[in-house]
């Protein structure tokens, strides 16, 4: 036995909430994407912990799919960041408020 499952769950929930706080508090688009990365990593940690808890391989395979999804998401969203930088000259999230009524 390494650790109780509850410690893994608490560790990954702290990581997830740090990522959520980064998404909510920061105004830089790059930092918002980094927060999303932190949250996805916390989910991956939970999956690997569950895989070790039940001695099934499925959790580890889901982490592989999660990584593929993350790389797709990052490539699209960084292309969007480059596009928005070209369009507005800024990557501050407050600069994109054209739809504010």
């Amino acid at each position: 036995m390494i650790v109780p499952m509850s410690h893994i769950l608490i560790f990954s929930s702290i990581l997830f909430l740090m990522g959520l706080a980064c998404v909510l508090a920061r105004r830089n688009l790059i930092m918002i994407l980094i927060g999303v990365e932190i949250m996805l990593n916390a989910v991956g940690l939970t999956l690997v912990g569950a895989s070790a808890l039940w001695h099934q391989v499925d959790g580890q395979i889901f982490v592989i799919f999660l990584m593929a999804m993350t790389s797709a998401e990052v490539s699209i969203s960084l292309a969007m960041v480059v596009y928005l930088q070209r369009r507005k000259g800024s990557i501050n999230a407050n600069a994109f408020d054209e739809m504010r009524g």
Binding site: A25, I30, T70, A72
Partner: protein, 172 residues
């Protein structure tokens, strides 16, 4: 021994992540996040998933974070994007919300009798892993490959360079 290592790595990952989300310079944040990812990879290895640990280092720390650095340096972002000054107006509500959510999560975990079970490391041999990945989840692998193709095409479409029209100065 393994449990002590787990707690040391967990504290290292949490500290690196905390430093990452509070940096004002995105380059420093990315470097701290790479540290946190290395700690997480070691935790995956301790839990018995060496393949996932290797891919965490190769894909996350090696590819995705370098892509972030590349974009940051290509855009030539100013180091001080955010206004200096007391950050409590921004961080205060977020901190309260996060602590409330964390407290509720910990209460839920503490009330669950199954959560006190010990986790033993489960090493999936490459044979077991490969059979599960390419037989049980073969359809999902195909779907993921399509998803990566669409992501590449979409990134190319969004990021292509268009000369400005209507401003009178066409770039060649």
């Amino acid at each position: 021994m393994d449990s002590i290592l787990f707690y040391i790595l967990a504290i290292a990952a949490l500290a690196a992540t905390l430093l990452c989300i509070t940096r004002s310079n995105p380059v420093h944040a990315v470097i701290y996040l790479v540290n946190a990812l290395f700690s997480l990879a070691l935790i995956f290895y301790l839990l018995g998933a060496p393949l996932v640990a290797a891919w965490e280092v190769i894909i996350y720390a090696g590819a995705i974070m370098v892509l972030f650095l590349f974009i940051i340096m290509m855009l030539e972002l100013a180091p001080a994007e955010e206004r200096p000054g007391p950050g409590w107006r921004r961080w205060g509500p977020v901190l309260v919300l996060s602590l409330v959510l964390l407290g509720c999560t910990i209460l839920l975990i503490a009330g669950d009798p199954g959560a006190a079970q010990g986790v033993t490391s489960y090493y999936a041999s490459p044979r077991v892993f490969g059979y599960a990945l390419f037989k049980k989840y073969a359809l999902a692998v195909e779907v993921v490959s399509f998803q990566l193709l669409f992501a590449a095409v979409g990134a190319f479409y969004v990021g292509r360079h268009r000369p400005k029209r209507g401003t009178g100065k066409e770039e060649q």
